[in-house]
């Protein structure tokens, strides 16, 4: 016997037969492999039974030869259900569209709030965000993550020192700290200015305090340049010494540079793959090919989809393959020396403060040693050598 519940999927109908020779009709059904069940006889000339939907065409042929008439009274099963559903399809499409809309809207950026910025800066920030594709109605999985936005904003807008980026639900919050906010004035205690290192004074700008040295003096480290004591003997007053004392100082630096070196650079070519992932299973959506690059770096971006205010366990993954190229650099001896000098100069400048400048340079020593050049340089630098030294009041 067949499983009755499977009939639910293929669909079944209830048939009422009226007429003479009902038994003959049933026998004919059996012979023609028509499966029937729940046969009931109501009176001599009427009976009813159930049969499969797929056999309806067969039974029509049989009934034509018999003396009975068929009436289909009841329909049940999936095929009829589908038919009914199609009639009500508007409702289902509506439900689906509603869910889809909530899903899409939950993944959008609805609001951008900038706090702590002047109107001009706020305008600048909004403009910059627009350039990055962050505006009302943008999809969250298309825009960068907060950390990247933060980095880009601080890089591109000079007016801000720091910006806190937070994505809460569908709103971006930006907490801005502007550069030109008035800094609370520090109270400077009484102090001297002393030499940072040995130097020859070239220039002095003293705002407050009693200078103890003059231009072209040689000073050693720790020597007091500007005293915090002013006034005549006996009427001395203590002030915080302020000013800039420029002096010529000397630096020595050594740079070793190999003639031959290899490193990787990005060629700018990249290949993107997009996935929809659930837990560990990733379903590729776009980008099915393997990247043709022989050397590449993989960058992975993963973002969860949201529904309402929940994060779904589904993720949108973007994998970017960036092509790398191996570059070999070969210097001749002369080039290497030049390059080493440049490097030395750059290194020195990065160590020095902004108001310092290099007055002159001298090559002390250069050497070739197993594939490397070694350069020793001597620099004359004009820089501010005054550093504060607080006056400790003992009594």
């Amino acid at each position: 016997m067949k499983n009755q519940w499977l009939n639910y999927f293929s669909g079944s109908v209830k048939v009422e037969i009226k007429g003479r020779g009902i038994e003959r009709l049933i026998n004919a059904c059996l012979r023609n492999d028509i499966f029937i069940w729940k046969v009931k006889k109501h009176n001599e000339y009427t009976a009813s039974f159930y049969m499969l939907l797929k056999d309806v065409s067969k039974i029509r042929l049989i009934a034509r030869k018999s003396e009975c008439k068929l009436y289909f009274t009841d329909r049940s099963g999936v095929p009829f259900l589908i038919k009914k559903t199609l009639l009500n399809s508007g409702f289902f499409i509506g439900t689906f569209l509603f869910l889809l809309m909530i899903f899409l809207f939950s993944n959008m950026v609805w609001n951008i709030q900038v706090r702590g910025a002047k109107p001009e800066t706020e305008y600048l920030i909004l403009k910059e965000l627009k350039k990055m594709g962050i505006e009302r109605g943008a999809f969250q999985f298309m825009v960068d993550d907060p950390d990247t936005i933060q980095k880009k904003l601080t890089d591109h807008i000079d007016a801000i020192t720091w910006v806190g980026v937070e994505l809460k639900g569908t709103t971006f919050y930006f907490q801005v700290v502007e550069k030109n906010q008035p800094k609370p004035e520090k109270k400077i205690g009484v102090r001297h200015l002393v030499a940072k290192k040995k130097a020859v004074i070239t220039n002095m700008f003293v705002e407050e305090g009693q200078p103890l040295v003059s231009v072209n003096d040689y000073v050693s480290k720790g020597q007091i340049l500007v005293s915090g004591f002013i006034g005549k003997e006996g009427q001395m007053k203590m002030v915080p010494a302020r000013g800039k004392i420029f002096g010529e100082t000397w630096y020595k630096s050594t740079v070793v540079l190999p003639l031959q070196s290899t490193f990787h650079v990005f060629t700018g070519k990249y290949y993107e793959k997009h996935y929809l992932s659930f837990k560990n299973i990733s379903l590729p959506v776009w980008g099915f090919k393997k990247p043709t690059f022989s050397h590449y770096e993989i960058e992975l971006q993963k973002k969860p989809f949201r529904f309402w205010r929940w994060e779904l366990p589904f993720f949108y993954e973007r994998v970017i393959y960036r092509e790398k190229e191996k570059v070999e650099r070969n210097y001749s001896w002369e080039e290497a020396f030049q390059k080493a000098k440049e490097i030395a100069r750059k290194e020195l400048l990065s160590q020095l403060e902004d108001d310092a400048s290099i007055k002159g340079e001298k090559l002390l020593h250069r050497a070739k040693e197993n594939g490397k050049v070694r350069v020793e340089m001597h620099y004359q630098v004009i820089e501010n050598i005054g550093i504060p030294q607080p006056i400790i009041q003992g009594d």
């Binding site: 026998n27 059996l30 729940k38 006889k41 009976a47």
Partner: protein, 94 residues
């Protein structure tokens, strides 16, 4: 003549070798569960049916089942499952 000899042969085989009679001799196998169900295998077609009685054709003779509120739960070319309140099962010879 040959038919009779074959029948005797089958009868002998059933007796001597303990083979099931319903298979060898095309007899109906009737299973009843109390009064409520009757399951008949090896029938040869439906002769008449009403809610009070059902008459089935067998290889030899007919089977008459009497009772009340009969419903044929399933009917297949050689099987029938009848439901209702069964009071009598009768063999009718031709």
């Amino acid at each position: 003549m040959i038919g009779k000899w074959r029948r005797q042969m089958r009868n002998w085989l059933t007796n001597k070798m303990g083979l099931p009679a319903d298979i060898l001799m095309d007899l109906p196998r009737i299973t009843m569960i109390g009064q409520i169900h009757i399951y008949i295998e090896n029938h040869r077609g439906l002769l008449s049916f009403s809610d009070k009685e059902i008459r089935l054709l067998l290889k030899q003779g007919q089977l008459l089942v009497k009772g009340e509120t009969f419903v044929i739960k399933t009917i297949l070319p050689e099987e029938i499952l009848l439901e209702g309140k069964i009071s009598q099962v009768l063999y009718l010879d031709e």
